[in-house]
């Protein structure tokens, strides 16, 4: 077997596709997903930290705050409660900023949630980083072609609809890109990315109807 190509992204994807399709096929429905470190999609940034199921797995730690300085793969983070952390991002770290992306998309001033393993030098080796992620309970106050107007408490928030990303889950059903069943006045649980430049939110997942916000 050829060595794992890391340079050209297309060659890497071709290689990984071939490998994925050679893999073992497993059929059936298991339990709702959780690894030994907790669930791994964007919702996990707000899930209760799970106790490690596997005693061999190192306990994961959680860091949140604003990024004050970026030095290569090292992020300096000022926490909301005055604490301070350094987060190390590697090639194996997943970076979420509206969608799965790379560490190059992280900017100074962004908000950050990171999960990882504490290192002896005091840094956190991040397994997963969620940039500017927000999870808000809102009411739908207006619908336009490219944005939704949302009320969060007494604040009005503009939520941008992203053609290739925004999905809606109606009454706990599977997420869909069909946004045509949204109605003004509905309660909407919104998972998205805060945009610091104009204080708006880029919408990733909207859950409406009974069961919204209770997926986990």
């Amino acid at each position: 077997m050829s060595a794992y190509p890391t340079g050209d992204p297309l060659a890497r994807r071709r290689f990984l596709t071939a490998a994925a399709l050679r893999g073992a096929t497993v059929i059936g429905t298991g339990v709702i997903g959780a690894t030994a470190l907790g669930a791994v999609d964007a919702d996990a940034a707000f899930a209760e930290p799970l106790r490690a199921l596997d005693p061999a797995a190192a306990d994961s730690t959680f860091v949140e705050g604003r990024i004050t300085w970026i030095d290569g793969g090292l992020l300096e983070v000022a926490g909301s409660w005055g604490e301070y952390a350094r987060v190390r991002v590697t090639g194996a770290t997943s970076v979420w900023k509206v969608r799965a992306t790379t560490a190059a998309a992280i900017e100074t001033g962004d908000g950050l949630y990171a999960r990882g393993v504490p290192m002896p030098d005091g840094t956190l080796a991040a397994d997963a980083v969620w940039v500017n992620i927000v999870n808000l309970h809102t009411t739908l106050r207006g619908i336009e072609k490219d944005r939704l107007h949302l009320a969060h408490g007494s604040h009005e928030i503009v939520g941008h609809v992203l053609a290739d990303t925004t999905s809606v889950s109606y009454s706990g059903a599977a997420p869909t890109v069909d946004l045509s069943r949204l109605r003004i006045g509905q309660d909407a649980q919104v998972l998205g990315a805060w945009r610091p430049s104009d204080d708006s939110v880029e919408l990733v997942r909207v859950a409406v109807g009974p069961g919204a916000g209770h997926r986990r």
């Binding site: 990984l16 490998a19 791994v40």
Partner: protein, 287 residues
């Protein structure tokens, strides 16, 4: 007659409309006492009940001004215009105080508006001030000017209504947005025809699968990358295989039907592969 003179002559009925609706809301609004306790006025007057009383008096004053502006000729309504301008100045001062002393509290400027003091409230107050000044400058009564220039008058009324909608508190804009949806149809109807399954749906299907249960102990990262190839959707994660000294970084790959979601498929077939992250060699799934 120049457009400026026309606008000045028509200022009285337009300002009367603004003051009339705001005043009626404050004086006759059924739920007025409760929101009053949340306004900055309650803080200024030290008490929600006093604030509610003050708001009702203010509503009565606004209605009185409204009637004066509508009924009196310019020579007499100069006083009403001056009063309206003074009211606008007072509003601006009060809003400035509210922003400084009690940020986040509502202004109580219009009935039912319980949002925090924002730019719209300041523009509304400035509009009252400008309207009041315009009324003092008017030379002809509006009921002689309007019939002579019906088109311009209708235009001015339309502009005023549009301005009122833009500056209206959220509750009123909600009515307007609902009406617009009813008239123009749902703006996102175009998305109904899209059959593409979003990646979040595929991730959700994966997390409900037996394959995930089998492989998830290896997975450490969130979704690293995903792409579609020949009807398959490949999801890539990073993980760690083995424990202690034998632990090594791996790439965990899942391949699912790109068109499947939890609604359509009860028993998803998922292909699982684990590769050594350094060499790209396949690693047995069970450690």
């Amino acid at each position: 007659m120049s457009p400026a003179t026309l606008a000045v002559d028509l200022a009285a009925p337009l300002l009367a409309g603004v003051l009339g609706t705001a005043g009626a809301g404050k004086l006759f609004g059924r739920s007025a006492p409760r929101p009053a306790s949340r306004t900055a006025l309650a803080r200024l007057l030290r008490g929600g009940a006093r604030a509610a009383r003050a708001l009702r008096w203010l509503g009565a004053l606004e209605l009185l001004l409204c009637a004066a502006l509508l009924a009196l000729p310019p020579s007499v309504s100069v006083a009403a215009g001056g009063a309206a301008a003074a009211l606008g100045v007072g509003f601006l001062g009060y809003l400035g105080y509210a922003r400084r002393a009690a940020p986040g509290s509502s202004c109580g400027c219009t009935a039912g508006d319980d949002g925090p003091v924002g730019v719209r409230a300041f523009v509304r107050a400035a509009a009252v001030l400008a309207g009041g000044v315009a009324v003092t400058l008017a030379e002809h009564p509006w009921w002689t000017t309007a019939p002579h220039r019906p088109a311009a008058t209708a235009g001015a009324v339309l502009v005023a209504v549009a301005g009122a909608v833009v500056l209206a508190p959220d509750r009123w804009r909600l009515l307007w947005r609902r009406l617009r949806l009813r008239l123009t149809g749902h703006p996102l109807d175009g998305t109904r025809a899209v059959t593409r399954v979003p990646v979040t749906a595929t991730v959700e299907l994966l997390e409900h699968s037996l394959a995930w249960q089998t492989a998830s102990a290896l997975v450490r990262s969130a979704l690293l990358d995903h792409w579609d190839d020949g009807g398959w959707r490949i999801l890539q994660y990073a993980g760690v295989h083995g424990g202690g000294g034998a632990a090594r970084p791996v790439v965990v790959l899942f391949a699912l039907d790109a068109a499947a979601s939890r609604d359509a498929v009860r028993e998803p077939a998922v292909r699982v592969s684990v590769l050594d992250a350094d060499t790209g060699e396949a690693v047995a799934l069970t450690a």
